[in-house]
Structures are given as C-alpha cells and as structure tokens.
C-alpha cells in the first residue's frame, strides 16, 4: 500500500493507504476524504476530483493527456499544479505524496 496525504483547502490532513494501480481519486473516495467527489467514477468526465500536486512531485507522475487538460480547462480554481485525481495512477514511488484540494469541486458555469 502507498501512503497518500490529502490536505483539504482548510488545512485538515487525511493520510490514507492507497492500493498501487488505483488512482488518487479512488484513494480519496474509498476513504471518504472530504473535498473529493469523483462523481463520474474515473472516466475523466466531471472534474470533481480536481487536486493539486506539489512542484517537487510533478516530475515523478505521468503528464496529463489532452482529454484531461480539456476537462481541467473548465474546472474552478485551476492552476499549474492542477490534475484530475482519477487520471493519476498511484505507484509505489508516490509513497508520502501530499495532495492538496481546491476550495470546492466542479466546473465554472
């Protein structure tokens, strides 16, 4: 198992064990981490698992594909650290990763 820490916008931290091969979204939703909805269940279609990957970790995580970028374009509070948790596959190398969450999930309307 891989230890991932999800940090809510307000600062509350949730460190949980995540199965390698699953995703940051699955890790959060299986543990009911507040601030991650994962509404569409991982088909890159809702942008409700939006999260921020800190600078130092980004090079160790595979880059976002065009379809993820396209979904992120509509996400509220997007910045250069933004990823969709459902598209980030959890690997052993990610043990200790700290993922930050936006103030709320969803799309700009």
């Amino acid at each position: 198992m891989v230890a991932i820490t999800y940090v809510e916008h307000g600062g509350t931290r949730h460190t949980v064990d995540v199965e390698p091969g699953s995703s940051l979204m699955i890790g959060a939703t299986l543990n009911m981490v507040p601030g991650v909805d994962g509404m569409c269940g991982g088909i890159c279609s809702c942008a409700t698992c939006h999260c921020y990957i800190p600078e130092g970790w980004r090079s160790r995580i595979s880059a976002a594909k065009a379809e993820e970028e396209a979904m992120l374009e509509g996400a509220s509070y997007r910045d250069k650290r933004s990823r969709l948790g459902c598209q980030v596959v959890v690997t052993e190398e990610m043990d200790g990763l700290e993922v930050h969450l936006p103030p709320e999930q969803g799309m700009n309307s």
């Binding site: 199965e19 299986l30 269940g41 991982g42 088909i43 809702c46 309307s109």
Partner: protein
Amino acid sequence: MTMTRPHLDPYDHKFHWDPYPQYQVLREQDPVYFNEELGIWLLTKWEDVNHAFRDLKSFINTGATSLEKDSTEKLPFPMFIFSDPPDHTRVRNLFAPLMTPDGVQKLEDYTRKKAVALIEPHLASGSFDFVADMGCFLPMDVISRLTSVPATDQDQVRGWADDLIAREDKQHELSERNVQGFMNMAQYFDAHSRKHAELPHEDNLIGVLVQSEKLGVLSHEQVIGTLILLAIAGNETTTKLIGNMAYRLWQHPDQRRDLVKDPALISKAVEETLRFDGSSQIIVRRVGRDITMRGKTLKQGDRVGLCIISANRDPDKFKNPDVYDIHRGSRDHMAFGFGIHSCLGAALARMETRVVFEEVLKRMPEYEIDESSLKRAHNPNVRGFTNVPASFKPQKR
C-alpha cells in the same frame, strides 16, 4: 384515525407511468422506507442516496445484484458492477479508458451517420417512433462497435436483453423468460468471445476482454458476464432515455424551439432529462456494516434500493424539482449513479442522446406525439417507453 402508511412497489405497472407523486410521499413521510413484501430498504432523499454512494464501507455492491433476492444464483455469470474494490477497481480500469471523452469522441461520427440513416427513411411518411425506429437500434449498434457484434445478430441480442428485463405486473421474482434471456446471451457471448480470441487483436472492448482472459486477469465467466452487462446497459437505458427526452420535449414545445434555435443547448437538455426523467429508477446495494439513518437501523446484509429518480426530484436539492427546465443544465443529478460505481457509459449515453436530438430536431422540429399510443417497458429499474410514436410534416425527398 387510521393513517395510510406510505407504500411503494417498484414492480407495479401503474406506478411506472408516473412514479413521482409516490416518491414524493416517501421523501416527505418515510424517506428510509422498508418494503416488507420485497424485504428491501428504499432511500428516496438526495442526501441519503448520495451518502450511500459515498460511504463505500456501509453500502457495498458485492451480492447486490438486483431487486430480486435470488438473482445471483439464477444468473451465474459475474458482472464487475456487483463487486467492490480492490477487485472492482482492477476490472473497471480495464474498460475505463475506452469510455473517456477521447474514447467516446471516436464513436461520434459513426453515431451521427447511424442516427441519420435511422431517421431519413421516415421523412417522406411523416411518422416516426422515437423508440421503435431509433432508440432501440442506435445504442445497440454503437455498443456493438465496441463488442464486435455483427449487425445481423443485433436484433437477436436485443431481444434477449428485452427478455431479461421484462417484468409482468407485480412480478417480484425472475421468470422463466428472464432467465432464458440471460442464458441465451450467455451462450451467444461464450461462442462470440471464443471466436474473437482466435482473431488478431481488436482495438475495442472485445479486444480488451479476450486479451485480459488470455493474461489471466479475467475468467471466461467474467468475460461472458461483462458482455451480457454491456448488452443490457448499452442498450436498455439509453434507448429509454431517448424516448423520455422525446416525450418531455413534446410536452414543452417552447423549450424544444429553444433547442431548434440554438442546438448548443441540446447537451443541457440531455442533463435536464436525466435529472427529470432518468431511465434508471433504482440502484441496489447491500449493507456492509450496521448503519443508522434517520433513526432506523439498517443491518449488515440488508438490501437497499437507492431511488435515484426520487433523489433527482428532491426539493431540498433542486429548486422547483418538478419543473422541466432545459436551461437548468445541472449535472449534480445522480442519473448515472455517483462515484466509483457510476455508469461507465455515461459519456457515451450523453453523446448518443445529444447526437440523436441534433439530427432529429433539424429534420422534424415540430413533431407531435400520439400520447394514447405510448407503450411502456416494465421493469423495477429501467423506466421508459417501448413506443413513442410521433408525426410531423412529411418531407419530399
């Protein structure tokens, strides 16, 4: 004074015509309702249903096959939707990449051509059945692109899927016809998958399935179960959604004209139809550990129906929930479920329905539906019409 206790039988044919008033009574009077006859809890409030979708330890999918208690024994090919993580994640991840926006976009041109081909022959006659001429063919045809079921076999597979879901009035248990439909599909997909395992790798779902079996990731029974699942899920629900949307747009001609004027709004209308009249009524779970909701204790092992079409009409969640308003465009309905078990084909269903109405409204914007000739399919879960006959001004070729 005698109180009438709220009661709801999801198998009652009369109930299928307009279930919303009864759901409202349950939401107001008994939102955590136990139907003793069926031995199942029914949750009807958005908040409770959403909680059940999120609390994956208290509400599990393993053994939660359908409303019928004994269906696991009678329908012996495992479907991954009735499993939980980590097994569920492992299997779902095999197919998820085919169902993302990129995967679905690859099917859009094909879907549009197919939709046009289904509409065009009816333009000269001025009559068109949204389900019998369109809804029942299109989703089956598109899902068959993914499963490599040839056009010549599609009517047969659809017939078996219809057999599996059909329920007589108040039929609470699986019938001979239901089981036979399932077994016919199992036999067909057994031969189908064996045949495709011998062919060069195909870049679609059947390709993923037979490859996964070769690698030992899936058993042969799981491959068959998945193909049956797709024949039902890829067929029955979108079929009904198309019919429901045709009906609601006919009831609201001003909104339909808004769509004709601005087709970019059609995807919002699809969302509102999903919220207002989704084609899946109830999603079933089992209680994974004792849990108390609104003062009632649900015991480990109990079966729970999450009444999503009721949740989507909950006034505590949606303003004026019983008003159909395409401009709402709200995506926080739970027509496809919510979270890790939510419908894998959601993006595909949205695309198919949008494309159908883009092409229909171009050609027959002022259709009229003959309400007295509407016919319904009857199932405690899938809700919609088998016939939605419409007429419009005939067009010269």
